[in-house]
Amino acid sequence: MNDFELFEPASVEEAVGLLAGRRGSFVLAGGTDLLVRMKRGELAPENLISLRLVPNLSSIREEGGFLRLGACVTHRAIERSPRVRALFPALADAEESLGSIQVRNLGTIGGNLCNAAPSADTVPPLVAHEAGLRLFGPEGERRVPLEAFFAGPCGTTLKPGELLTEIELPVPPPRTSSAYLKLTRRSCMELPLLGAAVRLSLDPDGTILDGKIALSCAGPVCLRAKKAEALFPGARVEDDFLEALGRAALEEASPRESFRCSAEYRREMIPVLVGRAVRRCRERILQTGGDPA
């Protein structure tokens, strides 16, 4: 690994000042991606700005109709949060499937988002739950919807000197649940060949009120299957509907051929995973009797 200078600021303002003021600076959160890239020689930052000592970035808070995840909350902490499991089960599914326990004890949700890999596990659940981000920069704070945060594979719309500080998740209405299904070759230490997150709201009589679908590895950035989503209102979770839904989601997708998986296999599996995820949402709503809280 190259030589660098390590800064450990004690506030967001100080971190942003360091980040904006020094060229060649990278933010160090969990380090599970950044240090690997540095070891491989893909990156050689002159300065690392560690967020370890910045207060409040590692807390999970519930207030004002939102669950607020600090950018430095670890994957493991999210996986083990009873509130995340109850309100945002797709996110808990994704977190417990990510890397290994060792990686989840180090890696952070903010780091996963800022790396912006098209295969990032946390992104589809957060998109399906319409998460928003709080960004703090030299010109103050701004909020963006997560979907507007990504700009191509491994690219974000973060401005120079800007820091992701918090992920805001709106608490879903009653009779709503979500699920994330991940296609893999093994059960640990694996990126998704394909990932599908669905959020579903049902009427008391079982009719679908509303649904969201977000897919990873189905395009250059996490894909929100909006044409498929338009089929949700008024439908019922039945075979014919799920087939039509899967076909609609597939039409919007543009999965690529990669060394991990053929595009053909990904296309084949998109309707399968979407259908299974919808069914899992329905099971979860029935299990909780409609009140996840």
Binding site: M1, N2, D3, F4, E5, L6, E8, L28, G31, T32, L35, V36, K39, R40, L48, S50, R52, R76, G99, S100, I101, Q102, V103, N105, L106, S187, C188, M189
Partner: protein, 155 residues
Amino acid sequence: MKRIWFTLNGESVSAEVKANTLLVDLLRDHFHLTGTKMGCGYGECGACTVLLDGASVNSCLVLACQVAGREVLTVEGLSGGEGELHPIQKAFVAHGAVQCGVCTPGMVMSAKALLDENPRPGERDAVKGIGGNLCRCTGYKKIVEAVLSVREEEA
């Protein structure tokens, strides 16, 4: 160079480290605690697993500077004062859960993290608990049996 202080296997220690010194190298080269193995260097194999504030981490992905003020437990910190093996280590011996041995310290530390959190894991929990540790001899069956036997003995 920067001086850091932290707790290593229950004792307060300090060391001079560079910004790019990794925890695994600090443990092995400075403190001569060579139980922690350097395998892949990319967080894939788990041979370098140690507990940081009680949580298992890949010490090849932690900067030494970042453990300042924190607690690190390595495999050397498990055994008792007279060199008596920890129950997890005894179980690995009793079940023959060791082949070439390179993965063993990491496996033992992952098992420790699992059992600290869940003293009565099922087979699936044990398999998941060592999911981040590769055994190139593929001796997983006996390793899982060893982990589960600790649960049984303490029950």
